[in-house]
């Protein structure tokens, strides 16, 4: 594989037009990836989901070269009609359209980054892989005191043209003081057997608000890794919602650094799995300053021989007094072959804190089914009703009403 990587990387660098600075950084990242390779179960974070093995088993030989010079056609039918929105359309890892038609032009700044954050992390060579093979990184800057009028929908599309390929994509958001943005990240995969590696960076200034909703429900055989890094200054709020149901394998990772006082992070997620899917959510909230707050609620419904994993860590620095951290994960196992693994972790170095976590897993409550059946529902409907109720709990946490309605329709929960 090493040889393949090297030739693909050289080909990629020679066919793209990167600045010298970019090439230098990319080479560093590439060397780092070569050194570490794909993560495997020997690393604590990958204990439950050995991505190296999963790729070997499901894809086999990967191609790393991706031609960003190709023009991709976009069918307008895929756009959401229910709400007016701004668009970013990404096809096979290439940004095809950036349309901010509802916003004031001078309040946002679109650019590409010359200098990107290495995110070098020995534990996570996938970030290095992303840095080495991703195209030009777009940066969306929301200026001081500006709030997006309409949501931004990011359409992440893959088409039949790619298969057995590694697609890397990276996007940057910067929110200045008092700004806010609502994002819906919609995956639309029409390809099979690719390894898709996404990296999103969010920088939240003072008093800013980020609402990020990730929806991935189209069934496919791709293997995905999605990493969001959120850095928060004083009094900022981030809300992340993950609906993960589509691909064969996905690991959603959210890393949140609460660096300013009164900042807060909310991460909620749903796993709705059938067949033999294997999904994981990993959250890490780092409380680095006093008076910060975080909350996570993750619910899994696991059918057939699927596997759901939740790893959550609340880290409290010794400076971060008065931290309030809460984490809850619940799982419903619907089939004998289903499996749920969890590792809710607390690492605390400050004494004046309130941190707790809970985790529960089991099957549907027989008494509740009996109750509903005695009211005239058949067993299937009774079960559906209970599962819907179980998941709605998470959806109801969405703070934007318009988007909540849209998502409920999309997911099919009412």
């Amino acid at each position: 594989m090493e040889q393949k990587l090297k030739t693909d990387f050289d080909k990629f660098i020679s066919t793209s037009n990167f600045s010298n600075q970019e090439i230098k950084l990319k080479k560093e990242a590439f060397d780092n990836f070569l050194k570490n390779g794909f993560p495997n179960r020997k690393l604590e974070n990958w204990k439950f989901s050995d991505i190296n093995q999963i790729i070997q088993k499901n894809i086999g030989e990967l191609a790393f070269y991706n031609d960003y010079n190709v023009e991709n056609e976009i069918n307008d039918d895929i756009f959401i009609k229910e709400i007016e929105h701004n668009k970013i359309v990404i096809v096979n890892g290439k940004v095809e359209r950036l349309i901010f038609e509802y916003e004031e032009k001078d309040k946002i700044n679109l650019s590409t980054l010359d200098n990107f954050n290495q995110n070098s992390n020995d534990d996570n060579s996938l970030l290095s892989l992303n840095n080495s093979f991703s195209n030009k990184i777009h940066n969306i800057l929301v200026k001081k005191n500006y709030s997006f009028k309409k949501p931004l929908i990011i359409y992440q599309i893959t088409n039949e043209k790619v298969s057995n390929t590694n697609i890397n994509f990276q996007l940057n958001f910067e929110l200045e003081e008092n700004s806010s943005i609502k994002i819906i990240n919609l995956s639309d995969d029409n390809s099979e057997k690719n390894f898709i590696n996404n990296l999103f960076n969010f920088n939240l200034g003072k008093n800013s608000i980020l609402k990020n909703y990730k929806i991935d429900k189209k069934s496919n055989t791709n293997i995905k890794y999605d990493y969001s890094s959120i850095i928060q200054k004083e009094n900022s709020i981030s809300e992340t919602f993950i609906f993960s149901s589509g691909p064969h394998y996905i690991k959603n990772e959210v890393n949140c650094n609460l660096e300013g006082k009164y900042s807060s992070a909310f991460i909620n997620g749903i796993h709705l799995l059938s067949k033999n899917k294997h999904h994981e959510i990993r959250t890490r909230t780092n409380h680095l300053y006093e008076n910060t707050k975080s909350y996570q609620l993750i619910k899994s419904v696991i059918n057939d021989s699927s596997k759901s994993v939740y790893q959550g860590k609340i880290y409290v620095d010794s400076k971060a007094q008065k931290t309030d951290g809460y984490q809850l994960s619940k799982a419903l196992l619907l089939n004998e072959q289903a499996e749920f693994n969890a590792k809710p972790e607390l690492e605390i170095y400050a004494d004046d804190v309130k941190c707790s976590h809970g985790s529960a897993s089991g099957s549907l409550d027989d008494n509740s089914i009996f109750y509903l059946m005695s009211r005239g529902l058949n067993q299937t409907t009774a079960k559906e009703l209970l599962i819907n109720g179980f998941l709605l709990d998470v959806v109801e946490k969405i703070t934007d009403d318009e988007i909540k309605k849209l998502l409920k329709n999309m997911i099919g929960l009412n």
């Binding site: 196992l333 619907l334 693994n341 969890a342 809710p344 607390l346 004494d351 004046d352 529960a360 897993s361």
Partner: protein, 478 residues
């Protein structure tokens, strides 16, 4: 055995000491040393082969390093793996030679003078020892058919039992420290409870004459036959003086059909001084197997000592309807570190497990609860309940919770809860208002926090443990 003991003491009176000195294996870990240990203990050949097999395995094993508390590398070639009990010459002559701090603690715990001497290996006059309560207990046990002796003795007298069960729960192919123990273990306890016998008293190493020098590689094997019950106590509340820094003991429990084993530990080994120098590394492997139907194994531990405590008393719930329980209090102060918890492996149907863990960290210490609950595919209708609470005192210490939860059975349920907090100002204020000073108030609140676990200890133990909890936290407030 008792006669032998007196014989030894007689020898001392007439000045022996030279003989025993020669009973020392050379430094280092190699086949020769293992043969030496086996030879000196007159072990049968199968056991020697077993040890050597473990040693072969050890050569390819790597020392684990995933734990939170890190420690300087141990040079295993620089250790003595066998040395006979030290002659009395080398031991302190009387209590005045000891650290006054230690004596102060004894006083607070209310430990009798003779007992204080025994704990520190000071020569106790034969009169005291020969009329000790232990001998009377021994008779009662023999009457019931209970075997309670050192494992070396059991190897000689009950080789079939030992051969059948030794290594059946912790195989020689286990992790590094367990395998090291299998290769070089020197002594430990052996308990066998015959079918349908309820052991009439709490068994304790304390009552086993000759138990004082079991060394750093202790091996304990407890077998409860069908329908029997035993409660076993390990350690004691008094601080122990010890020359060995590394302790890698193995404890195996086996409960057959309808049997119950209750294993309580109070560990208060030397934690090092205030700056974190010295102290014991307590790397113990404890594992219980609920082999039969309706069997039960319950671990209770109060861990206040050692510089580093790294252990996970576990239950393998193999028999249908078997129950595993784990109750733990771990207290770390100054520079102490602990990474402890449990593993509950559910294999049989209708198995239940319960985990209650209370961690208290103060000073500059660091405490981790790490646990595993694994419900396998066939363990239908199994349940687990886990609760781990941590209390922090000051912002220089750390408290961490790392539970691993695996559920592969749809009819089983797992519930896990964990909280971390500090003692609230309100509670402290209330107690102080009622006339308690700050330290007493903290002691009271901490005891309340630990109550669920302390209740699980046998009566006499519980009272001492309660005092110990208070003492361990001295100097951590204010």
């Amino acid at each position: 055995m008792r006669d032998k003991q007196i014989e030894n003491l007689k020898d001392y009176k007439y000045g022996f000491s030279t003989d025993i000195e020669s009973f020392k294996a050379p430094k280092g870990l190699n086949e020769e040393v293992i043969r030496f240990i086996s030879n000196i203990k007159k072990e049968p050949d199968w056991l020697l082969q077993w040890r050597l097999k473990a040693f072969e395995r050890l050569k390819v094993l790597e020392e684990p390093d995933w734990q939170k508390p890190k420690y300087p590398k141990i040079d295993y070639q620089d250790l003595y793996y066998y040395s006979a009990p030290k002659s009395f010459k080398e031991k302190p002559k009387n209590l005045e030679d000891l650290d006054p701090k230690l004596l102060e603690t004894y006083k607070k715990l209310g430990i009798p003078l003779q007992e204080q001497k025994r704990l520190n290996g000071i020569a106790v006059d034969a009169v005291f020892d020969s009329v000790s309560v232990a001998t009377t207990f021994k008779d009662t046990l023999t009457e019931k058919g209970i075997i309670f002796c050192s494992i070396s003795e059991a190897i000689q007298k009950h080789p079939d039992l030992v051969r059948k069960y030794l290594g059946s729960v912790i195989p020689i192919t286990d992790h590094f420290f367990a395998t090291l123990n299998s290769a070089v273990f020197t002594d430990g306890s052996f308990v066998y409870i015959p079918p349908n016998v309820k052991c009439p008293m709490e068994l304790s190493t304390y009552f086993r004459i000759n138990a004082s020098d079991t060394g750093q590689f202790e091996r304990t094997l407890i077998i409860a036959d069908k329908g029997s019950y035993v409660s076993y106590l390990e350690g004691c509340t008094a601080p122990m003086r010890d020359e060995n820094q590394l302790h890698a003991a193995n404890v195996e429990l086996i409960a057959l059909d309808d049997a119950e084993i209750k294993y309580s530990t109070v560990q208060n080994w030397y934690p090092g001084d205030k700056d974190g120098k010295g102290g014991i590394y307590n790397f113990v492997t404890k594992r219980g197997l609920c082999k039969g139907k309706n069997s039960k194994i319950s671990w209770t531990q109060v861990e206040t000592g050692s510089a580093i405590t790294w252990k996970y008393p576990s239950c393998i719930l193999k028999g249908d309807n078997s129950i595993g329980e784990f109750y733990s209090i771990a207290i770390t102060n100054n520079h102490q570190k602990a990474d402890t918890g449990t593993k509950m492996i559910h294999l049989g149907k209708n198995t239940k497990s319960k985990i209650i863990s209370k961690g208290i960290s103060a000073g500059k210490s660091d405490m981790t609860y790490r646990g595993l609950v694994d419900i396998s595919k066939n363990a239908a209708n199994s349940t687990n309940f886990t609760q781990c609470d941590s209390l922090l005192m000051g912002n220089k210490c750390g408290a961490h919770t790392v539970p691993y939860i695996k559920n592969k059975n749809l009819n089983s349920s797992i519930a896990h809860e964990a909280t971390t907090s500090k003692i609230s100002e309100d509670q402290l204020h209330y107690c102080q208002q009622r006339g308690l000073n700050q330290e007493e108030a903290v002691g009271l609140i901490v005891n309340g926090f630990c109550k669920e676990v302390l209740q699980q200890l046998p009566m006499e133990f519980a009272v001492e443990a309660q005092k110990l909890v208070g003492i361990s936290l001295e100097g951590s407030v204010g």
